[in-house]
């Protein structure tokens, strides 16, 4: 049996592939024709596809991407992060002098670019107090450099002159292009603007080897001045940080001896500076002086923990956890809120969906079965609130439900409720459920109505004529046929409910608010867009998951939005 099929396959292989009229293999030719067809179809929907991509998918993807994005730490403090790698916070000691030195030069550039406060705000989400620490330090950075600049200028006035310093740092002979390129790249990452183009400065290789820190600090100054401020570096006085770096270089053992034999431009200036014999800058003491929180291990641990370009920190935060130096941990009891809010949002959206089914089903049935003229009138009543502003409807519920409101007044007047024991129906879960059920009701009624319209009334009559009671006829014959409408309405109402935030904010008090209220807070008020994006991503994932479950259980083919 197997041998015959084997041999027929061999035969086919021996005779070669079937060819089309033009000699190409038929398979290929068909594939090409199909591809052309697909491309043509794609071209037809391309405008719509591109429109959706550009205006809908891309912005959402961009926003959600912020939930993991964290480049700000490494672009603002690149050298600090590198030197901090070897530091271990568990010893309880603040990092060493080299980290503080790197921090000083990183901060100086960042403060010139006004980026340091952004980083302070970012890190303050994780560790309270960093915001003002960065803001305060940014203001005082000039002080350290000024302390060194003065004696240098006293020794040789030209040391404070932009052009003379420019000549000194340019030197003669080959230039250190590697330094310039790395400076460009770093500033590009910091400011987000292109740093390419003419700078009007190239650090001399000889001077850069002799005074490495000064050359780096001056390169920062030159690139920034030329590309961001748009001025020629030679016309501007160098930053204070350049003098700190010069002092640092001069105080490094061996430099002064080498300067004695240096003969490039500005050699006499350099000699004069060397004669000042400055002390080695004590960066750590400087930062401690600005704010002793710089010696706090917790602050440095935060910087180290959030150094990577991508972080799971926002997502952890969104599920009431946090990153610590020892891995992830649950937040303190008094800070946990998001899980509870997610559960509450799901639960209340379900309650609202069921209330909509309960209230909407009879209305839809009436709409479908009343004579046309009455049904139309009823339809207008259903649609009327639909055309009224959401805020107006929500505020109207406030007037109705509050303790001195219409419903309570009527109940008191009827004597059903004591004047001193008026019902609390708003600023809690009940308020949110009532108001949102009302607002979302049309989304349930309309799909139900359009499905019910297609159910022939003869079926019910047939069931009854065969001896079914009213209830049996409804439950066994009518109801199963209306399920697709319930399905469509439920999906619409549930998904809309899960993302509501204006109504819960107004009538929900503290127990009736949703996760969307926190998302709105983080987007528009606290500006923690990363956390807002993480919460939004989780909500989106939850909706997709529920949708999938729904498809598995009910089947999405069973959902009908219309006849």
């Amino acid at each position: 049996m197997t041998s015959t099929s084997d041999s027929s396959a061999e035969q086919a292989a021996a005779s070669g592939p079937m060819l089309a009229a033009d000699g190409t293999p038929l398979k290929k030719s068909i594939a090409r024709a199909l591809r052309m067809q697909k491309l043509r179809a794609l071209a037809l929907i391309a405008p719509l596809l591109i429109f959706i991509l550009v205006t809908f998918i891309a912005p959402i993807a961009d926003m959600l991407f912020r939930s993991v994005e964290n480049q700000i730490v490494s672009t603002t403090l690149p050298r600090t992060i590198t030197t901090l790698e070897g530091w271990d916070g568990s010893a309880g000691e603040a990092p060493g002098e080299d980290v503080f030195a790197a921090l000083y030069y990183d901060m100086f550039v960042a403060a010139e670019a006004k980026e340091h406060t952004k980083l302070g705000t970012r890190l303050n989400y994780e560790q309270t107090g960093i915001s003002s620490l960065f803001r305060k330090s940014g203001r005082k950075l000039d002080d350290l450099g000024k302390d060194y600049q003065k004696p240098f200028e006293k020794a040789a006035k030209d040391l404070g002159d932009g052009a003379a310093f420019h000549a000194l740092m340019t030197g003669t002979g080959p230039s250190d292009s590697a330094l310039l390129e790395s400076t460009r790249a770093r500033l590009e990452a910091l400011t987000g603007d292109s740093m390419a183009g003419e700078i009007g400065f190239a650090p001399g290789a000889e001077i850069s080897a002799l005074l490495p820190l000064t050359a780096a600090a001056y390169a920062d100054f030159a690139v920034f001045t030329a590309r961001v401020d748009g001025d020629a570096p030679a016309d501007e006085d160098p930053w204070e940080a350049v003098y700190t770096a010069l002092a640092h270089d001069l105080a490094t053992p061996g430099t002064i001896e080498k300067i004695a034999s240096y003969t490039g431009p500005g050699a006499e200036l350099l000699q004069a500076a060397a004669d000042v014999a400055p002390s080695l800058p004590d960066y750590r003491a400087f930062f401690e002086d600005v704010d002793e929180d710089w010696l706090d291990v917790a602050n440095w641990s935060t910087i180290q923990t959030y150094a990577p370009n991508y972080t799971s920190g926002y997502f952890l935060n969104a599920i009431d956890m946090q990153k610590t130096p020892d891995g992830t941990a649950l937040r303190d009891d008094d800070e946990r809120i998001y899980i509870m809010l997610f559960k509450r949002t799901m639960f209340m959206s379900l309650v609202i969906t069921f209330s909509c089914i309960l209230l909407g089903y009879p209305v839809a049935w009436l709409l479908a079965n009343l004579p046309m003229r009455t049904a139309n009138l009823l339809m207008i009543l259903v649609l009327l609130p639909f055309w009224t502003s959401l805020l107006v409807r929500t505020s109207a519920w406030k007037v109705m439900l509050q303790q001195q409101g219409v419903i309570n007044d009527v109940l008191v007047w009827l004597g059903l409720v004591e004047d001193t024991a008026r019902l609390i129906m708003i600023n809690n879960q009940l308020g949110t459920i009532i108001a949102m059920t009302h607002i979302l009701l049309p989304f349930m009624i309309l799909p139900l109505y359009s499905v019910m319209q297609t159910i022939p009334p003869t079926y019910l009559r047939a069931a009854k004529s065969l001896g079914a009671t009213n209830w049996t006829a409804f439950w066994r014959v009518y109801f199963p046929q209306s399920i697709p409408g319930i399905g469509a309405g439920s999906i619409l109402v549930f998904i809309l409910a899960i993302g509501y935030y204006i109504t819960p904010e107004i009538v929900g008090g503290t127990t009736g608010t949703f996760i969307s209220n926190r998302i709105a807070y983080h987007i528009s008020s606290s500006l923690n867009w990363g956390l807002g994006a993480a919460l939004g991503a989780i909500l989106l994932a939850a909706v997709l998951l529920l949708y999938w479950c729904y498809d598995q259980i009910v089947g999405i083919d069973n959902v009908k939005l219309g006849g």
Binding site: K118, T121, T128, I337, T510
Partner: protein, 365 residues
């Protein structure tokens, strides 16, 4: 041929529209009575003087988020924005607001005092031009004060449910509430922020708020408390003093002011970064006009907020339509300012996120 003409005509229209828009500027503020007071005191006189059309946008509540989004999109459509002091600091931190040299841009006082001296400490950020001092304080229903008890006049009366039964309204955020709670837990005024930095201090404040939690409606819009007071839903509630002024004096509701431990806050202008040179110049020209001594005093004719310049205070006159003296309704009036609290910007910038998380978790419990 025809198409070209049509195109040319359209582009000519676009160009002329562009020229026209240079003669208009968008000013963002809070809306309602406050924007109306600015329109009367600043916008209308400025338009009359220069012919520049001013477009109002009531988006100040979301100004920080919207400015950030505009900046990222590279299309800033606002020229001058009215924000509270805390937001000005944040916008400055984020590089979204321009730094302003106050003495260079703004008018000096009539007696020659420089602008920066005239505004004094109220310049809380380099990007901020102060405009008014407002306060968050309490209003209460005079007809709901129990018989035989004097009207509430102490901040701790808010926490005293026995003497003053009835619902309260407090803002749905930790700022101000935590300070008041600590003041009434026996913490001295000058120690409040030191205590609030500790876990115990936060617990103490929340414990105090716990005593009135189930009697409190938490508001998020400044209009909520006046509405709740007018409906008789609450006995007393916190809100901005200008809102209470209009509730009491303009609408004649039976509501009284309780000025004790009112919290001063600032509101003022910022100019967004990323404007063209021409628009920046225009914005600065507006600021020069709108924040001089006389204009700031003029605004107090329409709303009961204190002008931010020291030199404006003596010029504050009568309400434009009610004809009542405005000075006694200013939060800065000595009789009202016997016991005040100054909003600590620097401190809240650091602790806002942390405390808000704890406060919201507490609220949701």
């Amino acid at each position: 041929m025809k198409l070209t003409t049509a195109l040319l005509a359209t582009s000519a229209l676009v160009v002329s529209a562009g020229v026209a828009s240079a003669q208009s500027m968008t000013i963002v503020s809070w809306g309602g009575a406050y924007s109306a007071s600015q329109k009367n005191a600043y916008h209308d006189p400025y338009s009359e003087k220069t012919g520049v059309e001013i477009i109002n946008d009531d988006s100040s509540a979301e100004a920080v988020a919207k400015l950030r989004a505009m900046n990222e999109a590279g299309n800033v459509t606002w020229d001058v924005v009215d924000v509270v002091g805390a937001d000005a600091i944040r916008l400055c931190d984020e590089g979204l607001a321009m730094e302003i040299d106050h003495d260079e841009v703004l008018a000096a006082a009539p007696d020659g005092t420089s602008a920066s001296d005239d505004f004094g400490d109220l310049i809380v950020s380099d990007c901020f031009v102060p405009q008014i001092v407002y306060s968050t304080t309490f209003g209460y229903r005079t007809d709901m004060v129990p018989a035989g008890v004097e009207a509430p006049n102490d901040i701790c009366d808010v926490f005293d449910l026995e003497t003053y039964p009835g619902k309260r309204a407090l803002e749905k955020r930790p700022i101000n509430n935590m300070e008041w709670a600590l003041l009434c837990s026996g913490v001295a005024k000058e120690d409040v922020y030191d205590v609030l930095e500790t876990e115990d201090g936060i617990a103490m404040a929340l414990a105090k708020l716990d005593t009135i939690k189930d009697q409190t409606i938490w508001w998020s819009a400044g209009a909520d408390t006046p509405q709740l007071l007018a409906d008789g839903e609450i006995f007393m509630g916190s809100t901005y003093n200008g809102r209470l002024f209009s509730l009491i004096e303009e609408q004649g509701q039976p509501v009284g002011m309780m000025w004790d431990a009112q919290v001063f806050d600032l509101d003022g202008w910022i100019v967004p970064t990323g404007l063209s040179e021409e628009r920046t110049k225009q914005a600065m020209d507006y600021l020069f006009f709108a924040t001089d001594t006389q204009r700031l005093a003029d605004q107090a004719k329409y709303i009961s907020y204190g002008p931010a310049r020291a030199s404006s205070a003596p010029l504050v006159g009568k309400h434009a339509s009610l004809g009542i003296d405005m000075a006694p309704h200013m939060p800065t009036d000595p009789a009202n300012a016997a016991n005040t609290f100054l909003f600590n910007y620097e401190w809240w910038a650091d602790y806002r996120d942390d405390l808000d998380a704890k406060f919201q978790a507490w609220l949701a419990q």
